[in-house]
Symmetry: C2
Subunit: 798 residues, 2 copies
């Protein structure tokens, strides 16, 4: 079937003794897995099972578990044989029992969880806690030693594995991909990660495609395509596949051991060649196709229906064990088939002859520090962000492209950490487009395929990871962070929604690990969202979406932060803060287009540290209570607010306006909801208790209401933002369409100050005229009027 890599029948790498020991170890892992799913008492089966020994709720996924146990024991063997630094990423995440069983057998589980000791009492706890209140989930999770991949939502195992391998030349990441997970989009493109692995400087990923033919209820795509297609698919993805197929454990052990020897040798040869002779061309990395029965070694038939080898083995293969004596008997026999009394001694501990099969110390996959990256985390060497400051002699006259300025700082982060090799940028082909071009002064885009003379800044050693897949960028970055490194993900704002679900999962991982003492904090996941809604006028409605912030705000306060720096110096300050932070997800929203600059560096630092503040230079309420508060959050809303303030101050100078700028969105929340939240007293001092507030916000306006509804003066708050009005038009017309422009904002103020009288009416007419003039110009010339494009705060023209 396989075109190559087929095993020579004469090769039997395991001695008879080793073969039986490995099979016994495999049995021990299977026994512990079944125990987790079923047993409440009687963990060593000292007497035949009684209904009371069974858990009240039977939960868990047996189907994929024995295959993972099989892989684990063979990984252990090669780790010992070749002294490998290896971690295990498990895609078929619901095989949680396998990873728990194996880390228990190797001793790491009891080291992390001393209550779950290596004896009968500990084994009982191991069984009880599984899928039990106060216990552990049924899938591979943050609680599982050695795991960097949550097994709830499927699709990200390969991306995580490759992220872990970047810049870890001595690490081999074994990644088991289930044939269910293999159907997801992220996984399907995840295979292409091999185009970004440099055999000199990076580690290796060993994918094991585990085919067991069925998912929850139906067949799998890769489980059922003809073998020649599967072979071509894997070769087409750039791998050299090796096959281990069958169901007799003893035969399968020999096959797997021989194959493991082959693939490890190949990986070492590829690396040795490249490290001695330099990188020549992308190698065909080996991968393994493991085809074994679903629910392998479990009950073959229950109630006349085949279980082993079918979808029926997916979860709990024998149900109603408490109430159906025949089923209880099947379970009893099934457990005894592993001969537990030959595996565990009288105290319940794995017998020494088997225990010695596991690697020692940090070589154990459950104890490998790469899978608990916080342990390995080194501080980034950070440049002094002040030195990239834009010179802002006075507010609103100098123009700069904020993300371009930020790019200079990121460039120097690469330089300062060149030796440590612990920082990368991940982006869907947008690094230059998002104005981070400066990074290409010191590094390049990564590619291991052909590089042509017409290419710009592409190399085999580039540290900018560009693949047109937000999933891949996110997955790689997560894998890189989880193994103790640092990174950044600049992205078009609208398309970050592609990874909403990955964000959710990573946020939950961070939240859970905060409460797991042995998990050390990792570097924050930093997003730059640019090419944002207000500057997608040319691309139209499909490119306009500020909703990622709303998603982020639904997660736990201790994990997520959202910053909307109004100018380049604020962006620098915020970037520095985010890159130094730990165990968070920081979302920075900033424009890339030329825009007015407001704060010099000292003021920017002060402003960003507070997260919110009055801009005295723009306000005219000096020391007294204002008539109106004009708040703004986001670079474009800030510009429009200032332009509105200028109109009002020129035309209605008697109106006392206070301008507030918000950088850190979390300051708006109650302190009980978020640690960055202003107290009600502070909020009232800023926003007054009863004056109208016109709030110009970058995203969906209702988010501001959601954050502030409990504040004293909320009923006077009037929020403008993006309300899904967009099309192909000009930048200024985008804000006009959403009533966020200077003329609408000024009008909003006038509408809320009825005492202004006739001058107000005159100004309202002025505002209406300006809007008409704008529309006429834009529809005629296709661009904004010069007085909009060239507007600034100081020049007296508005």
């Amino acid at each position: 079937m396989a075109k190559a890599g087929k095993l020579d029948k004469s090769s039997e790498p395991l001695s008879v003794d080793m073969l039986h020991k490995m099979n016994a170890y495999f049995s021990a892992a299977n026994y512990l897995s079944v125990g987790q799913i079923y047993l409440f008492n009687n963990p060593l089966l000292r007497e035949p099972l009684k209904p009371d020994d069974i858990k009240p709720r039977l939960l868990g996924h047996w189907g994929t578990t024995p295959g993972l146990n099989f892989v684990y024991v063979h990984m252990n063997r090669v780790i010992k044989k070749y002294d490998l630094d290896m971690i295990f990423v498990t895609g078929p995440g619901h095989g949680g029992p396998a990873l728990v069983a194996n880390t228990y057998l190797e001793g790491t589980y009891s080291e992390f969880y001393p209550n779950v000791s290596e004896d009968e009492e500990g084994m009982k706890k191991l069984f009880t806690q599984f899928s039990f209140p106060g216990g552990i989930p049924s899938h591979t999770a943050a609680e599982t030693p050695g795991s960097i991949n949550e097994g709830g939502e499927l699709g990200y195992s390969l991306s995580h594995a490759f992220g872990a391998a970047f810049d870890n030349p001595d690490l081999i990441v074994t990644c088991v991909v289930g044939d269910g997970e293999a159907e997801t989009g992220p996984l399907a493109t995840g295979w292409h990660s091999n185009k970004f692995i440099n055999p000199v400087f990076d580690g290796a990923v060993l994918p094991i495609l585990h085919l067991n033919d069925a998912k929850i209820a139906g067949p799998t795509v890769l489980g059922r395509i003809p073998p020649n297609e599967l072979d071509e698919l894997m070769r087409g993805y750039g791998y050299e596949p090796f096959y281990v197929e069958g169901s007799d454990p003893l035969i399968m052990h020999q096959k797997m051991a021989a194959t493991m020897d082959t693939v490890i040798t190949k990986i070492r040869k590829i690396q040795d060649d490249a490290r001695k002779n330099g990188f020549k061309e992308r190698p065909q990395w080996p991968m393994i196709v493991l085809r074994s029965p679903k629910g392998w070694t479990g009950p073959h038939v229950v109630d006349g229906q085949q279980i082993e080898g079918t979808f029926r083995a997916h979860q709990v293969p024998v149900s109603e064990v408490k109430t159906n004596p025949a089923h209880l008997k099947i379970l009893n026999e099934w457990l005894l088939s592993y001969k537990p009394h030959e595996l565990f001694d009288e105290t319940g501990r794995l017998i020494p002859e088997l225990a010695e099969l596991a690697p020692k110390g940090l070589r154990r996959m459950g104890a490998n520090p790469h899978a608990n990256g916080g342990i390995l985390l080194r501080e980034l060497r950070m440049p002094d962000f002040r030195k990239y400051a834009v010179d802002v002699p006075s507010p609103g006259v100098v123009v700069a492209e904020s993300t371009r300025v930020q790019g200079n700082m990121i460039r120097d982060v690469f330089v300062l950490n060149e030796e440590a090799k612990n920082f990368r940028v991940f982006s869907p082909d947008e690094t230059a487009s998002n104005r981070w071009g400066a990074v290409f002064e010191v590094t390049e885009r990564s590619s291991m395929d052909e590089i042509k003379p017409t290419d710009d800044k592409v190399s085999h050693t580039g540290r900018v990871m560009e693949m047109l897949s937000e999933h891949q960028c996110e997955g790689w970055l997560e894998g890189y962070l989880l193994t103790g490194r640092h990174g950044f993900f600049p992205c078009y704002e609208a398309f970050i929604h592609v990874v909403d679900s990955m964000y959710n999962q990573h946020a939950k991982w961070l939240e859970v690990t905060r409460h797991i003492p042995w998990r050390r904090p990792i570097a924050s996941l930093n997003y730059l969202l640019t090419s944002h809604v207000w500057r997608q006028d040319h691309n139209g409605l499909s490119h306009q979406n500020p909703g990622f912030i709303d998603l982020v705000m639904n997660k736990k306060a201790d994990i997520s932060r959202v910053y909307l720096p109004p100018d380049a110096n604020c962006l620098l300050s915020v970037t520095d803060h985010c890159m130094r932070s730990r165990h968070r997800i920081n979302v920075i929203v900033a424009g890339k287009q030329p825009a007015l600059q407001y704060l010099n560096m000292d003021d920017a630092i002060k402003h960003c540290s507070a997260g919110i503040g009055i801009w005295e230079w723009a306000s005219n309420d000096k020391g007294s209570e204002p008539d109106v508060v004009m708040a703004c959050c986001g670079d474009v809303p800030t510009l429009e607010t200032l332009a509105a303030v200028k109109i009002l101050r020129e035309r209605l100078p008697e109106v006392k306006i206070r301008v507030i700028n918000v950088v850190n969105l979390m300051t708006l929340q109650q302190p009980s909801e978020h640690p960055n939240g202003l107290s009600d007293k502070e909020f009232d001092i800023l926003f007054t208790k009863d004056k109208p507030i016109i709030f110009a916000y970058h995203g969906y306006p209702w988010l501001i209401h959601r954050l502030t509804y409990r504040r004293t003066n909320h009923q006077n708050m009037h929020v403008r933002g993006y309300k899904e009005e967009g099309t192909t038009t000009t930048p200024f017309d985008m804000v006009v369409l959403n009533d966020l422009d200077r003329y609408h904002l000024a009008g909003d103020v006038i509408d809320r100050l009825p005492s202004l009288g006739s001058r107000a009416a005159y100004t309202k007419q002025y505002l209406r005229d300006r809007l008409l003039e704008h529309k006429e110009y834009v529809y005629k010339y296709g661009e904004d009027m010069p007085n909009i494009r060239d507007w600034n705060w100081a020049d007296g023209k508005s």
Copy 2:
């Protein structure tokens, strides 16, 4: 290079005359494409270009455009030659100019947009409108005749194409996949759609992988892998690849024409065989790899840098044309290289010899009704949903699984529309798990690969589309709906976030097409979100996420609806309503677990029609003003609210409680925000103007505040919901962790009625005791207490 499918050099399918005509047509399309990007005046180049002839802002993507023009002219040829029913799905969406140019050349554009007439004036408008305020986007969009795929966010072209082909046996969907888009996850798994195409009953998809080597700024993965890997990859995906590679247009036309003849003949042969002899096995469908230079036929070198064939041709290949005379000259020569004066007559119309190359009438791809599915939409034959009613003699005593009841109705939708073949269910392997098992009484899961005796309900003609990829399910369904059919997408609630971004794009498509008169309304996209947050206790935190509703609420009111029916009869009523609706996205959230039923069918219909209402039978404020309003939305919050009411009515009978249930979340909004919104008066009548409101909500509680902050009594509204507190535990403990349980809710009421005095304190102690008792039981036995599990409204025990 290619293992097979290579062209015989001697085959020259095009006569010299035809060859030159097709090339001229290709030139005309290229000319019109360049014109759209650059020209403001002088569309026919009657005199040399002057700066004033150039648009003020140069926008658009030239790189992919000529390749699309090339494909289009060859599609036209085979449509005419074989009388094909064919539509064109364009993945490289920023090639908008190509589709606009070609539909203009074939006459459909001017039929849909009479102002853009087939003469000089119309051509000027065609050019001006492109990427211009009030005009059209630069990518393929809803405005583009013949399009069913928005080209902003990449990745969904193949899924859309296959969705269009299902149940359209005479249709061939040509789908161009760009090598940028090919890097996305959804596209990478989209290739596997061929495992679900039945050659007897479905149409065909002809994928054309368009390799032009680079994306915005870097190389593409598939553009740079060795040719043998690419060939294996396509064969591994199950296709037979044919290659058309080169840069000389005349040679390329011959190659493409020969290849098109080959692949169309192959498609017909596959279909004829299967339709005559029955389905035997999945065929190797043909596909084409088209390798042509990026920016083909455009300027080769500008300012000493190579443009054609490099990433520099991605967008506008010659910039600053208005101000740089040398660049203006390049543009002038470039446009003249297409010999516009030989292509268009004096009036600006395509000359007849070329116009006749296009198909006629509805065979034109811009006019094909499949690409404007509303035209073909037939009403579903719907069963009377009342006949599936659960018999509910009195509220809160009968137990049923809501989605299982709904499944009976869906089964009969399949039966009633068996002949029309215009309904399918799309789900990631969860149809049975989500309790829609009844559909398998009348249809099966679809698969064209091996079916084994151990499989359950899998067949080559199944209408349940299960692939473990939410992207694929969503993309197929969108393609199916956009071509005028009906469908349903049941999904785990947490994992629907995987398609957040696809939802955004589809919602925007629906919104835009509402304002395009020639686009007819299509069937609504219906989601069932089940296996929801409150019943993911066993799967833990990673499976708990009710946030999709929040995403949906950010979109336009005329598109999105969210329903949370509290029981099975309400679910039936809502399902019927959603399936009859048009041009919406309906989100239905409902549990699959056994749960109490409250309303008989008549009451359910009344309740769901109103969308919100007082449940008199649960209230004791008969005709008077209540002391407290207890509102609930979602099945589990409803259960907990009723249980709390019962406790309060037994222990504090003097408290007058009004129970309100919300089915349609949109009723809570202001009528100015949403057409379903209650007026303030109606809202005040229900919720009172000043009494405390305890609101138990299914999702994140702040959403309710966001929807109601303007209501009179908002300051008295206290909302409980999911606040990201979850773990592996029991169903009841899930609500306890989030303070949404009966004891917390009852306590919330007491806390807001200070006048209750000592009986209240006694009851509070009772509530605290119950919570302690619960925790103790759950941590000991791993399941909820019997009096929680078996609780009902009527039995007097609480």
